[in-house]
């Protein structure tokens, strides 16, 4: 009789199929590790860069309440970046290397942050639409196969729903306000709708890694599935606000119990991914500047810590003597 000996990789896949979590020191295929480091660090970079378009409005928020809320939200994004970097580090990636890859342009971040935030209504739209899309992407990742990633996502998701609600509240306030305010909300939606649909990534047919990622359960729905869900979720909310979704092909389809909608401009999508969006250079420039200008703080903190340690050791020696 032939013995059924599973290879390491088959055992690994069997654990994933049984919905068991993989933990940092467990054996894993190199490709799984590499794909995860890329995915988690990209996600972390997105949180970090995502602070920039909103940071732009902290000093311009229309009231102290809105300013406090926006500050908290931006602080949360920093926190989300940190949860995710620390999850990636459990896979052996170094923080310095991940940041270097972001700053050199080698690593990507979500293209949505390469669009400008032109009016206060953009703060509403970013929270309501962009964070709404992010939540759809992120909720399934709370059950992703890699333990530290899943745990980080649980934290992120808990905090993200405040982001979406505060965005919706901004939109609702504008839509119930003066005609000019409502027009501002509509104008923001017109600019953000399509870029937000792009956040789910290329069409399934053009997403060759999806199949492997689904098998590893580091992705749990396809790009097109999530995009459809998003449209179905958001159209009624836009209707509630009295806003028009800028898509002439948007139509309820009773048969599929969902909306039919127009085609995303994929040329624009790839153009922004390649670095030619409206704000790519600004965003990366601001990030690199902050990093470089903070270098002396990082070095001073290390020097201070070393000095304090040395002093404590000297005092200990003196006490013994």
């Amino acid at each position: 009789m032939e013995t059924l000996e599973l290879t390491q990789e088959e055992q690994f896949q069997a654990r994933i199929d049984a919905d068991m979590r993989i933990e940092p020191k467990d054996w894993m295929p190199d490709a799984y590790r590499k794909t995860l480091i890329r995915q988690i660090s990209q996600h972390a970079h997105s949180e970090l860069v995502g602070m920039l378009p909103e940071g732009n409005w902290i000093t311009r928020a229309p009231s102290l309440k809105r300013k406090s809320i926006l500050l908290s939200k931006v602080q949360d994004e920093a926190g989300h970046g940190l949860y995710l970097y620390s999850a990636a580090e459990t896979l052996g990636a170094s923080r310095d290397q991940m940041l270097a890859d972001l700053h050199s342009g080698k690593a990507k971040y979500s293209s949505i942050f390469n669009y400008p935030t032109l009016s206060w209504a953009d703060m509403g739209t970013v929270g309501w639409l962009v964070d709404g899309a992010a939540i759809l992407n992120q909720v399934p990742l709370c059950r992703t196969s890699y333990g530290p990633y899943a745990r980080a996502m649980v934290r992120v998701c808990k905090e993200e729903s405040f982001h979406q609600r505060q965005g919706f509240e901004i939109m609702q306030t504008l839509c119930e306000g003066a005609p000019e305010q409502k027009a501002m909300a509509q104008e923001a939606l017109n600019r953000w709708w399509w870029p937000t649909l792009m956040m789910f990534g290329p069409k399934d047919a053009d997403s060759p890694n999806t199949e492997q990622s689904m098998k590893w359960r580091i992705k749990r729905f396809t790009n097109d599935e999530l995009r459809q869900k998003f449209v179905d979720m958001m159209v009624p909310q836009a209707e509630f606000l009295g806003l028009t979704v800028p898509d002439p092909n948007l139509k309820w389809n009773e048969a599929k119990n969902g909306y039919d909608f127009g085609e995303v401009d994929w040329e624009e999508f790839w153009n922004v991914v390649k670095g030619n969006g409206m704000c790519n250079k600004d965003r990366l420039g601001a990030r690199v500047k902050a990093h470089e200008e903070g270098a002396w703080v990082r070095e001073a903190a290390l020097a201070h810590a070393a000095k304090r340690k040395q002093r404590a050791e000297q005092e200990a020696v003196q006490q013994v003597a």
Partner: protein, 95 residues
């Protein structure tokens, strides 16, 4: 990788009086005092904790997952350590 990277710390949080500290994640900091302050900002922005422990990650020693089966094997065949192993007559109460 450069030597400028701040050391990595593991963060443990007691969510309320009477509960254990629980591992929540890690962060970088120059020293323990900064690690505790950063942990407050990263992991307790919504009153998730009332006490924080930080341990430099290099000081954590762990069992080897590859040996887990053999390592934890001794407890595997001792069902009699669980109360459900024993059959208690129906008429016996409070046991």
């Amino acid at each position: 990788m450069t030597q400028h990277e701040w050391p990595l710390w593991e963060v443990f949080i007691r969510s309320k009086q009477g509960l254990d500290h629980k591992h929540v994640g890690s962060l970088h900091a120059a020293d323990a005092a900064m690690a505790i302050q950063n942990a407050r900002d990263v992991y307790t922005r919504r009153m998730e904790g009332i006490s924080i422990w930080v341990v430099e990650s290099k000081h954590v020693h762990a069992s080897n997952p590859d040996d887990a089966a053999a390592f934890f094997d001794p407890a595997n065949d001792k069902v009699y350590r669980h109360p459900t192993f024993y059959e208690v007559p129906d008429s016996i109460k409070h046991m």
